[in-house]
Subunit: 408 residues, 2 copies
């Protein structure tokens, strides 16, 4: 008998039919002889509806009260799902975050789980009950309700799986796994059977929005076996784990695209020490995260520095640079928001020098110009013109997955 933690997102429980569908998946797992703990998000648009209600009342809601409001969403969701499971004749109990022992720090809205006191859950599992836990929420040491912020329910599920030493943590969502590229955009994109935590982390941060990084990081830290699968299909999903057995088949596991990026170029900087430090400490002071950084030699005694930021930070970053032109000794600031980042990710990449080269070649063959390049142990990213991003992803994907056969 295994202990399985399952998590269902808001779209999976959006209405009564879907709640019943989820109840069926849960009871199938239970009937197969497993102990089952389920983490649920709020139904469909509930969270947005509650945010709208709050906005009608105030323009600056206290975070503590926002958590009080939003946590009601998951509470309703677990109660309804428990009713559906009970109606099917299975023993079930729903638990709020505090009842489930989800202890967090005191940061309302972005709380982090400090520890889980799983006694209540364990007691209910011992009675052979299916245990439903409200995701996204916990309780701090003042007995106040907290919420975990973006990706919170995934994090709840992984944390519970770690605390309960579950054999598997299944994340049910509206896609049926992790693909070699976004299947809505890329022809020939294929579902991966397995992927490593590190690859998943790179893919998530690169815009493949299936699992939130926070939950993957936690799964990696506590070595929780994850599986991403769809509540709308019967297909097996993608397993996310420390080491995958098929790793040697291919060095690249996926191609991702991220349009939430903008490039700022500082042209004609004085060629003297400390300039880069000045630039990036100015940005850090304004809480602007910088992604790719490129430094090149300019004409005469000057150099150029380019960097990318999230598109939402682009105007502010450019303005800061413009204001401080004299401080950093820069002749001209250029902002380009019409760029996109295309990346390949693969745990086997570090030992295969040819991987980056193959990507560049694919782009060159497709006539796509590369603006910037950034590499890490398991990733190569390039910045291209936004209008060419989709074509770039397709070209790179074809090169790695059609030509020689994908990893799966």
């Amino acid at each position: 008998m295994s202990l399985i933690v399952q998590k269902f997102g808001g779209s999976s429980v959006a209405d009564a039919d879907r709640v019943r569908n989820v109840a069926r998946i849960i009871t199938d797992t239970y009937r197969a002889g497993n102990s089952v703990v389920v983490v649920l998000s709020a139904q469909g648009d509930t969270t947005d509806d509650l945010l709208a209600k709050a906005a009608e009342v105030t323009s600056r809601a206290p975070k503590r009260e926002m958590d009080m409001l939003l946590s009601a969403g998951e509470q309703m969701s677990i109660a309804l799902c428990a009713m559906a499971i009970d109606q099917m004749g299975y023993p079930v109990i729903s638990l709020t975050g505090w009842q489930a022992g989800m202890k967090t720090d005191a940061s309302h809205g972005v709380a982090r789980i400090n520890r889980i006191s799983p006694e209540r859950i364990t007691r209910e599992l011992d009675k052979r009950k299916i245990v439903l836990v409200a995701g996204f929420q916990g309780i701090n040491r003042y007995d106040d309700i907290t919420t975990l912020g973006r990706g919170g329910s995934d994090t709840s599920a992984v944390a519970l799986a770690a605390a309960l030493r579950a054999d598997l943590c299944q994340i049910y969502t509206d896609v049926d796994g992790i693909y070699t590229a976004d299947p809505r955009c890329v022809k020939g994109a294929r579902k991966l059977e397995e992927i490593t935590f590190d690859e998943m982390l790179e893919l998530a941060s690169l815009g493949a929005q299936v699992l939130h990084n926070r939950s993957v990081e936690m799964a990696k830290r506590y070595n929780v076996n994850l599986e991403v699968l769809s509540s709308f299909s019967e297909q097996p999903g993608t397993k996310v784990k420390e080491v995958v057995k098929t790793m040697e088949k291919n060095h690249v596991s996926g191609v991702a695209k991220d349009k939430n990026v903008a490039r700022i170029a500082l042209i004609g900087l004085r060629n003297q020490p400390g300039i880069a430090f000045k630039i990036f400490s100015l940005l850090a002071k304004h809480n602007i995260n910088v992604d790719i950084i490129l430094q090149s030699i300019g004409r005469e005694d000057t150099k150029d520095i380019s960097f990318t930021v999230a598109r939402g930070d682009a105007e502010e970053a450019a303005a800061i640079m413009e204001e401080n032109k004299e401080v950093v000794g820069c002749q001209r600031v250029e902002l380009n928001t019409e760029v996109a980042k295309v990346s390949i990710v693969g745990a086997g990449m570090a030992n295969n020098a040819g991987v980056a080269c193959k990507m560049f070649e694919a782009l060159y063959s497709a006539g796509i110009n590369i603006n910037m390049i950034s590499t890490s142990e398991i990733k190569v990213s390039v910045l291209v013109d936004e209008r060419e991003a989709d074509r770039a992803v397709q070209a790179v994907h074809d090169r790695f997955f059609s030509e020689f056969g994908g990893r799966v």
Copy 2:
């Protein structure tokens, strides 16, 4: 400085404008130098909406899960109201039933408050915060959320007022007080300035649905000063207390009408001991409450017994009697659902023999036939034809409140 507990019903917080209105009433009370604890119901139709959601999923929801679901309603309500008060610049905190220390027994859906552990509330009051508490809900000794059933938020408010030894418990509702009769039906109905707990109890059970009996009983037991008033008007309401100072002015405080009543007559019962016991133990076994009972001598050696039950129980009660005709030795069972109960209530009545007589006279003058009569220390009820009920109330009201001037 006084400690005031205020309770606002669902219609008082139905939308953002009303929430702001309630926030204004609360902060006015706070600004006047009082400590303020507020009990809130769920917004408007929230509870009905949640019941409908549950009905979509199951036909027989477990009561524990229903409590989990419904209690989310008050939680949303306190959070939104706290946001509105915060927006107005006042210190405020919202607390769920369990955070406020509302400890109940384990009867889901109809829980009773066992005790209140008010430490958290007291701590927040000491910080000069306005404390909002979710009504209708508590926690049992298994740490499960319970709800208090009908009239639950009123009961929460009165229980809190008792536990905190509040100086006043204000019940805000959509009517602005207790009237000598239903002002929607009776010309000349006037608002009472004061009324005793006992009168209020009789009026509530007689269909004047302003305060639930459970909360009035509790207020009487712990001697909590109640005030019933409207959140939609600035008018003073009606005070409900142990002894009222104006009691001697008039012996009757109100006239009430109850259409939720049916009469069953058992004709031609054998005139032998134990018949009444048999009849009413049969009804008790089926959980049917009997209100007025009348026994009269029939023809020859028989007698008749009539009694009233709630209209929803009438068919079943008549069927039980029909089935057991031989056991109780009855010749005929008659059911009449077209009756209504009209009552006068007044704490000064017991010492004034003329009160009942005056009521009968008023009905006689109006040509209204009396079916049954029932009296208690502070009440006289008569059963009349349903079609004559409104006219009966008006006639009785005119007699007591117009002719000699009402108590107020």
